[in-house]
């Protein structure tokens, strides 16, 4: 399982990186989301994978490490906040710069919202 999980983390990260390197804001934002999925799963795995062992007292005999879960939770919330912000920023930039290229300069043509 660990190997498959690690592959999934790697694939998510790779997909995220590839998209982050695109030239338009929207794919980049999606890439950032995938990247944060990958990273969150990575961080989550730092407490090791445990099946049927939720860290709720009384629910399981040998609960999993709860700390990475708390960390990932914080990370999820923060990355949600950041995503919301960057989405709006991308929107604003597209409106102001008249294109949605990450550099604000459309290699082909101007687009007007």
């Amino acid at each position: 399982m660990e190997a498959l999980y690690a592959i999934a983390v790697g694939v998510l990260t790779a997909c995220g990186i590839y998209l982050v390197l695109r030239g338009r804001t929207f794919p980049v934002i999606m890439g950032l989301t995938l990247l944060s999925h990958g990273v969150n799963l990575f961080l989550f795995a730092s407490g090791r994978l445990a099946l049927a062992a939720p860290a709720v007292i009384g629910e399981s005999a040998d609960p999993t490490d709860p700390l990475p879960q708390a960390l990932v939770l914080t990370a999820i919330v923060i990355s949600f906040a950041m995503t919301a912000f960057v989405v709006v920023l991308a929107l604003r930039a597209a409106v102001e710069l008249r294109n949605d290229h990450v550099d604000g300069v459309d290699p082909e043509e101007d687009w007007r919202p």
């Binding site: 099946l51 049927a52 939720p54 709720v56 629910e59």
Partner: protein, 89 residues
Amino acid sequence: MTATVLPIALALFSLSLLLNLYRLLRGPDIVDRILGLDTLNVNAIAVIVLGGIYMDSSLIFEAALLIALMGFVSTVAMTKYLVRGDVIE
């Protein structure tokens, strides 16, 4: 008997998930994809519930509840987007 049936049910739902993802990836229209995702959500609820029985814990049933709520809202949002070009107006 439940114990015997459970893996079968899970396998059948897995098959469902696969078919849903197929529709999601295949399209052809965006509405097909939305439909695929919506069904994926619904089937995921069942998978979670069956997983709960399997692990003898209803701890993650809130997740199923949330999938129901969130899946609906996101389907509504997407279809609204298609029809109105905007979600909230």
